[in-house]
Amino acid sequence: MKFFIFVTVAFLAAFIVQEFIPAFEWAYSSRILLVHITFLAVAVAVPFPAMLLYALIGGFIWDARHHIPIYPPEATAGIFTQAELPFGFTIFIFGLTGALIQGVRPLFRKGRWELPVLMIGICTSLGLLLEYLVISFHRGGLEIPVELWWKLLMSGLFSALVSPFLLLLLSRLGARSRLRSKNSYRRHNYDGDAI
């Protein structure tokens, strides 16, 4: 229980810290998406039902703060009434990427962080790419400049660089609050054998 209380507090604190993180102009205006990273780190550490709950809460708060109601041309014609990126789209992104990253949860539980870290980077970029594709779909033309790939790459890279700290924190906390199984303290190789 302590673990979940801490995780929830840390997740909410990430929203506040996010306000202090600027966009890096030199990195094609990409930024450290701390909320996304925290969510993905939490998603790899908690069971599926809890992941869904965090996706719902996290996505809702993110959109409440960051949603920009830019309406596509068809909305002005009365055909479509939602914004380009509808309110709640981040919940979908979180749910999707959270479900993906649950696939490497066994590795995290065994103390293997390489793939989870890589997946956090990939999932961050994937979520952003989905958003861009939805925007492009509404605007009727798929423009993929080179800068876009750099922006996605940098965002993913930032996530992958920050995530080990969060995974370490969650891992230590899980150990203290006895969330993990006894065997999970041992390191394993990818075949599941204890090292």
Binding site: F15, I16, E19, F20, P22, A23, E25, Y28, S29, R31, L33, F48, P49, L52, A55, L56, F60, I61, A64, R65, H66, H67, I68, P69, I70, T81, Q82, L85, P86, F87, G88, F89, I91, F92, G95, L128, E131, Y132, I135, S136, R139, E143, P145, E147, L148, K151
Partner: protein, 300 residues
């Protein structure tokens, strides 16, 4: 997958659909609440950013002096804009008096505001200001700043989030489309920015110019006022390069406003019901039916 997980997944999808189909009013209320919660942190973040930027000059001058300089600069900018607007109004007034014996130019008022959050969005070039519904700001209000001796267009209000904040969609965004023309020319087109907010200062694109348009690099591009959303003659940028297509010409424009250094901006508010005021004046036997008011300016 266990039965519990499947049930929870169904509940999740149902909640997602419900939230996604929320009405714009509900979304606005939610965002208003969120902005109330987050605005202290946004303010602190902005102060921290400003503090970092001015760390070199902080030791040279006392804080009070800096505050005074800021205040004077704001005052100077307000006055500059006032003069620009007055000149424009007088010029237009005289021109139309002579030509048509009639003018109905809606006077404007300016609300000074301060930027409290830069680039809050991943995919849109936006910023958040510290003025909102309480100050009469509405969606689609133009936002300007002084650029030399002219007024430059920053963008438009995309959303008013509560009483004390509004989101500005910058000119550099693809979705901020402005009817523009080459200065001292009748060549008109549509100017917009770049998709994806990949740069704070991307080149703008002026499209749908005629192939015969006399475009030379360095020539000023200004708003045409067509459509009524943006006032005419606001400076947008300078021509950087020209591309002649099969049907029309497209021009790359360097924006005049430095979007990276915006601190104080001005939101242009239309003054309500000018038609009634003009009608009332003509009915009362006023000899001059042309009502041109001095733009009102409010403190930041």
């Amino acid at each position: 997958m266990s039965r519990l997980n499947i049930i929870l997944l169904i509940v999740f999808v149902a909640a997602l659909i419900t939230i996604t189909l929320s009405s714009p009013q509900t979304v606005a209320r939610i965002q208003n609440g969120a902005m109330t919660v987050f605005s202290p942190f946004m303010g602190a973040s902005n102060q921290l950013e400003s503090g970092v930027e001015t760390v070199g000059t902080e030791s040279l001058s006392p804080a009070q002096l800096r505050e005074m300089v800021d205040e004077l600069e704001r005052e100077r900018n307000r006055l500059k804009l006032e003069v620009i607007q007055l000149d424009e109004i007088v010029r237009e007034n005289n021109q139309l008096r002579r030509a048509l014996q009639y003018v109905k130019k809606a006077p404007i008022s300016l609300v000074a505001a301060r930027v409290i959050s830069r680039k809050p969005s991943t995919w849109y070039n936006t910023m958040i200001i510290n003025k909102g519904k309480a100050h009469g700001i509405e969606v689609d209000n133009p936002v300007i700043v002084p650029v030399g001796e002219d007024a430059g267009l920053v963008g438009k209000v995309s959303e008013v989030v509560g009483d004390n904040s509004a989101i500005i969609l910058l000119l550099t965004d693809e979705m901020c489309q402005v009817s523009a023309k080459l200065q001292n020319s009748q060549e008109q087109g549509i100017l917009n920015g770049q998709r994806g907010a990949l740069r704070t200062m991307p080149n703008l694109r002026l499209r749908y110019l005629s192939r015969e348009a006399e475009v030379t690099p360095g020539r000023k591009v200004v708003s045409s006022g067509v459509g009524g959303l943006f006032p005419p003659d606001l400076v947008l940028g300078e021509v950087f390069s020209v591309e002649i297509g099969a049907l029309d010409a497209e021009v790359t424009v360097n924006p005049s406003v430095n979007f990276e250094e915006l601190i104080d901006i001005f939101v242009v508010l239309p003054v309500r019901d000018p038609e009634n005021e003009a009608d009332m004046q003509s009915e009362s036997g006023n000899e001059d039916p042309v009502a041109v008011e001095k733009p009102a300016l409010t403190a930041p």
